[in-house]
């Protein structure tokens, strides 16, 4: 069982790296959807006892929202705002990839510095969570488009999700459902916001938005 949990966690790390290195927006969204499904599998993987109804609802909710609803929303936002299918980073793809892969040793070092974070599930769980959070931050600060910033925000949230699922197995249901709902609303609002911004200003380049004057 632990081997499979490890395989899933490493796949999550690789999907995060793919997000930093891929240049096509559509592919990035598909990778994000894959990551959502993987998070559902992790939720099953960390359970020691019998699968309860709570867990199954959480898994179904995670997979449905992160694996299917978010990608749809983002794709629709792209289509309606007629955004070009390219990522346009501030930090180049190669450097992003290098920073992304060096973030993993940093995450492992960070986990070692923090006391009592051994979730007893897999020694990779907490580093994966930190890695996802770091990648999320990287994507938010280093990408030009609002849609990619939403992707970064989702990666960040996925990191927090992994962290929560592994550590707080008792309270997990309420907390996770709350987070899922928040993120859902956030992505929904951002999708609409991107649409409206693009209708007002002809583009969603956040770098130029900061220089607007009334």
């Amino acid at each position: 069982m632990q081997v499979w949990t490890d395989v899933i966690l490493i796949t999550v790390v690789l999907t995060n790296l793919a997000l930093t290195g891929l240049s096509s927006l559509g592919t990035c969204i598909r990778v994000m959807a894959l990551q959502g499904v993987l998070l559902g599998l992790i939720t099953i993987g960390v359970q020691r006892e019998q699968l309860s109804l709570h867990v199954l609802v959480l898994v179904a909710g995670t997979v449905a929202i992160k694996g299917f609803v978010f990608p749809r929303l983002l794709k629709r936002a792209i289509r309606e705002a007629a955004i070009r299918q390219e990522v346009e980073p501030f930090v180049g793809f190669a450097s992003s990839l290098l920073i992304g892969s060096l973030a993993l040793p940093f995450a492992i070092w960070l986990t070692g510095r923090l006391p009592h974070l051994d979730a007893g599930v897999s020694p990779l769980l907490v580093p994966t969570a930190f890695h996802a959070i770091l990648i999320g931050l990287l994507l938010i600060v280093s990408r030009r488009k609002a849609v990619t910033q939403v992707l970064g925000y989702l990666a960040l949230e996925n990191g927090i999700f992994v962290f929560g699922v592994g550590l707080a197995r008792q309270a997990t249901f309420l907390v996770e459902m709350g987070i899922l709902l928040d993120v859902f609303v956030a992505v929904f609002v951002m999708g609409i916001a991107i649409f409206h911004i693009s209708r007002e200003f002809d583009h969603i380049d956040t770098d130029q938005l900061s220089q607007l004057k009334e």
Binding site: V7, I10, L17, F93, L98, S101
Partner: protein
């Protein structure tokens, strides 16, 4: 020096051109053609060896030396490679480094030979070759470092004899990542399709082929043969890792290895049939991606 270790170089010297033939056959079948026989590369070599060589007046000794150095370098690299648990002809701690530098020497002389002609096309090809290999070499070294750390040995024979089904069950994700990185190294070093198209003869898009445009006759035969052997060398690195069949019987190991090489040739043929060549700007991105995967594998092993 061990007698059984001669298997790898002898098999490679006999069968390496066949690998190219199989790749071309698979590509032809995918395209719905009948394709040339799998033995066509041998006939090409025989034809070229029977011809005379033409040398441009601007070239010097370096140009004539390059094919010889390339061929001998790749034969030295072959002597370092084991087959499964069958030890290599030459095995000593640190032969990984020698391996990388021997292949580096081969590339260095190919590049010098290309620059020696004074042709601007060949200079461009040389520049690309050097740029990409600067990105590929770290990936190779990181992958080998991962395997060395995992097996606790810094010689090819030690590393490859330690890889078994049990190790795959235990450290599958790491080994799978190393295999993926090595596949990219194999395709990039041999100028196969996502990086370079071996069939194209438009100088502007070529990398490796453009560097050998001025060679003819036996020199070109040497270069083609060395390229086939290089494909065999990198294929052997990958197959040794992905076919973890270690029976202890030399014959069984060698048979499994040959089947693995055949499968690899088919896989490369399928990749070449299904993918288009990447834009030149995208190639470094893919190579750095392979490097990132190798870094992750190394970090997981060091953890």
């Amino acid at each position: 020096m061990r007698f059984i270790g001669l298997c790898q170089p002898v098999l490679a010297l006999m069968l390496a051109p066949l690998l190219r033939g199989v790749i071309n056959k698979v590509k032809a079948l995918f395209a719905g053609r009948c394709g040339p026989s799998v033995f066509q590369p041998y006939r090409d070599l025989a034809k070229l060896l029977g011809k005379g060589a033409v040398y441009s007046g601007t070239t010097t000794l370096v140009f004539r030396l390059a094919p010889l150095v390339g061929l001998s370098a790749v034969v030295v690299a072959l002597a370092l490679l084991p087959i499964g648990s069958v030890q290599a002809m030459l095995a000593f701690p640190g032969d990984i480094i020698l391996f990388a530098y021997v292949l580096g020497l081969m590339r260095f002389f190919t590049v010098l030979g290309a620059l020696d002609t004074g042709s601007s096309f060949e200079g461009m090809g040389a520049s690309r070759e050097v740029q990409f290999s600067a990105l590929v070499e770290p990936v190779l070294m990181l992958s080998m470092a991962t395997l060395a750390r995992h097996s606790g040995s810094i010689s090819f024979s030690g590393i490859y004899s330690s890889i078994t089904f049990g190790v795959w069950m235990q450290a599958g994700p790491t080994l799978a990542m190393v295999s993926a990185a090595l596949l990219v190294v194999c395709l990039a070093e041999n100028s196969r399709i996502p990086v370079d198209d071996p069939n194209t003869h438009l100088e502007l898009t070529m990398i490796h082929e453009v560097m050998v445009l001025d060679y003819s006759g036996p020199d070109l035969a040497f270069i083609l043969y060395a390229a086939a052997l290089k494909l065999w060398v990198f294929g052997a690195l990958l197959v040794g890792l992905c076919m973890p069949l270690r029976t202890g019987w030399a014959m069984m190991d060698i048979a499994a290895f040959l089947v693995g090489m055949l499968l690899l040739a088919i896989v490369i043929g399928v990749i070449e049939s299904m993918m288009a060549r990447l834009r030149l700007l995208r190639v470094p991105q893919m190579l750095v991606g392979a490097g990132a995967i190798a870094i992750i594998a190394l970090v997981l092993v060091l953890r």
